[in-house]
């Protein structure tokens, strides 16, 4: 038994219970009227993008300095003490300036404990990778350092941000490299540098509010180190910093024009707890 809905409207309304004389596939001019695009979008300008990307460049510079110290240690020329000394003094000075220790005793205790245990364990760590060939070690360290840079916490959430993975990868890479050094004290020095550069430095950088000054000092330092190794490495370093700091942020800013987040009545409602 079918009772046709004989009352048909002359005008079209966006309802299902009232049929109109228009056919079922009629599209009203008000179609897609309620669509909203890019509601929560705040565009980033070039200056902010370039400035914020110095955080990534700083991390790259720190890793490069670490690698340079390792190379200098390996080759056995005396300049590693200079680089290492400068870096450590910088870190310590910056720490003292920013944290202004009231109670210096527990901190000193921690440092002494670290030195004692670390120096004691270094022979064990050195022999950990004895059976692995040097080329594999270098390849693994490169990958681990890239993982460290890739997963580092740069101030935003995301699928590939994990400070734990980042730190672990860096320390693992440092241990890999330290095992290829001849003398125990060199290995310990490298490990101490690794802890300073990858564990302490990010906190310090955070406390300093990511100043561009740190970026300039570290990048200049890394560049000088690279120059002392070879011109190829120095130019590669410069190119990568240029890309990361200038080209990629500008590409990002250019790509923002294609952002197309669509919102409308079909979206699942967001429930906020009262």
């Amino acid at each position: 038994m079918a009772e046709q809905n004989s009352i048909l409207n002359q005008t079209w309304t966006k309802v299902l219970y009232q049929r109109s004389t228009y056919p079922d596939n009629y599209t009203d001019p008000k179609f897609l009227e309620e669509i909203k695009r890019n509601v929560h979008f705040k565009p980033v300008d070039s200056r902010t993008a370039v400035l914020k990307s110095t955080r990534i460049s700083t991390q790259i510079s720190v890793t490069v300095i670490f690698w340079a110290v390792f190379l200098q240690l390996k080759e056995g020329n005396g300049s590693w003490e200079l680089t290492y000394g400068m870096f450590s003094c910088l870190i310590v000075a910056a720490y003292v300036v920013s944290f202004r220790f009231n109670n210096i005793l527990p901190v000193l205790k921690n440092v002494l404990l670290f030195i004692a245990v670390g120096y004691g364990c270094t022979p064990v760590l050195k022999t950990l990778t004895d059976t692995i060939s040097t080329d594999s070690i270098y390849a693994m360290s490169v990958v681990l350092m890239l993982v460290h840079i890739g997963f580092h916490q740069y101030g935003m959430g995301g699928a590939c941000v994990s400070p734990y993975v980042s730190l672990n990868a860096a320390i693992c890479g440092a241990i890999c490299l330290a095992s290829r050094l001849q003398e125990t004290r060199h290995a310990f020095a490298l490990l101490a540098l690794a802890v300073q550069a990858f564990a302490l430095f990010p906190e310090l950088y955070e406390a300093l509010n990511h100043t561009p000054i740190a970026f300039t000092i570290l990048t200049a330092g890394a560049f000088v180190c690279m120059v002392s190794i070879s011109t190829v490495s120095a130019s590669l370093f410069l190119i990568s910093i240029f890309c990361v700091n200038i080209i990629f942020p500008l590409c990002f800013v250019w790509a923002q024009q294609y952002k197309n987040n669509i919102y409308g009545p079909w979206d699942e409602a967001m429930v906020f707890n009262r």
């Binding site: 079918a2 009772e3 809905n5 309802v15 299902l16 599209t27 669509i35 079909w266």
Partner: protein, 423 residues
């Protein structure tokens, strides 16, 4: 009709396919359903009025849909389409991979294809992007598309980039001979609020759990009947324990289709707290049984019932509570629409024969469309995107070559035509 979702699975899409098929058979058409096997239920089965159902022995993956290989089901689909002299293939539900496969194979064989989209989907996450791309591929070769609400049409047009005049809006209907009001079944001393749905996050069970204690405190006569099961059942049980509302909140568990009507008859008010809904058949069934409806204002729900039959609220606890206040107040004062008037309205507006006639109109239009050659079809698929386009054109070319191979191996004139049940 091709879909993953059919009997013995029970749900909205399943009952839609079954009832639509029955109505089309009554209008004189030959209808058959193709779905995947459910456990031991494999092969050919006949349902009411000679509805032939093919349960294909295809492997299912998670969520009860088949693994979309396209090549595995090629020969069996071809065989079925030729045996049964199929002219139009109608796929249901964007989540059904079998429907996509059926439509794609049908188009390569030169048959006409129609697709019905029953749900709304987002755009933001990775799974949505992939599903929308697949839908775009399928719908770029389609002859016509049907959506169950105007919001659904907007959503489908945006997702799959279909031209808007290729999409018709034909709502779902309900069997009003089954869903009749019966005031004698209601308890006169209580105000019963019924909520029937799967207990999952999408259906707003968290909202429901927050609303129950507030309403129970405010109105001592109110009693809640909650049917359905799911992972969020524990939330409702916790609320019941915490507020000691054991006598006032009944959790009925998963209900059979037959029990749904019985439960609805006991209620005065129906509460729906979904967070997203293309077209809510539950509120139509409730209105057909004469209940007042209170619902969240999401998706296609504003289009379904007129304002005097439904009270809508924004999806937050305060708004729902105030809408329920209105509904309870109106019930106590007797100013709400009478159950028989509600039933009559639903009977006039959402009846299956009307829906089937409108669907038949779509089929007639589709039949009038000219046949397009495989080359033209592949050119349409090519426009789907710089990577997806050529990739799928390659896949479909291989399918086409395989179909020609099957044409040589099992020629068309040697395939027996299946006898008609009714003929």
């Amino acid at each position: 009709m091709v879909s993953d979702f059919f009997y013995p699975n029970l749900g909205g899409v399943e009952s839609h396919i079954f009832t639509l098929s029955q109505c089309l058979i009554k209008l004189g058409h030959k209808v058959l359903v193709i779905t995947h096997s459910y456990g031991n239920r494999v092969g050919v089965r006949y349902m009411t009025n000679g509805l032939k159902v093919y349960y294909l022995p295809l492997k299912t993956m998670h969520d009860q849909v088949v693994l979309p290989t396209l090549f595995a089901s090629l020969s069996i689909f071809r065989n079925i389409f030729i045996r049964e002299c199929v002219e139009i293939v109608h796929g249901h539900s964007a989540f059904s991979t079998l429907a996509h496969e059926g439509i794609l194979i049908a188009r390569l064989l030169g048959l006409k294809a129609v697709f019905t989209d029953h749900s709304l989907n987002g755009f933001a996450d990775v799974s949505a992007i992939l599903t929308n791309k697949l839908l775009e591929i399928t719908l770029s070769g389609i002859n016509h598309c049907i959506c169950v609400s105007h919001t659904g049409k907007e959503n489908t047009v945006l997702r799959a980039k279909v031209p808007a005049n290729y999409v018709s809006v034909i709502p779902n209907a309900t069997d009003t001979t089954l869903f009749k009001p019966d005031v004698s079944k209601r308890d006169k001393n209580k105000i019963t609020i019924v909520a029937l749905s799967r207990l999952v996050y999408r259906k707003g069970i968290d909202l429901l759990a927050s609303v129950i204690p507030i309403i129970c405190k405010k109105y001592p006569k109110v009693h809640f009947l909650i049917g359905g099961d799911g992972p969020k059942r524990i939330v409702l049980e916790q609320v019941r324990e915490k507020e000691a509302l054991h006598e006032r909140v009944s959790l009925l568990g998963a209900l059979d289709q037959s029990e749904v009507h019985e439960t609805l008859l006991q209620g005065h008010i129906f509460l729906n707290t979904s967070l997203t809904e293309a077209y809510c058949i539950a509120i139509v069934e409730a209105a057909a049984c004469g209940l007042q409806v209170v619902s969240t204002k999401v998706g296609g729900i504003p289009e379904v019932l007129p304002p005097n039959m439904i009270r809508m609220a924004q999806p937050n606890v305060n708004a729902i509570v105030s809408a329920l206040d209105d509904a309870i107040d109106s019930h106590l004062k007797g100013t709400c629409m009478s159950p028989s008037a509600c039933h009559q309205f639903i009977h006039r507006t959402y009846n299956w024969l009307d829906i089937a006639t409108r669907t038949q109109l779509v089929y007639d239009n589709v039949k009038k469309q000219p046949n397009s050659s495989v080359g033209k079809l592949l050119r349409r698929y090519r426009t789907c995107g710089p990577i997806a386009g050529p990739f799928f054109v390659l896949i479909f070319t291989i399918c086409h070559i395989l179909l020609q191979f099957f044409e040589w191996l099992y020629p068309r004139h040697l395939i027996d035509i299946a006898p008609d049940y009714n003929g």
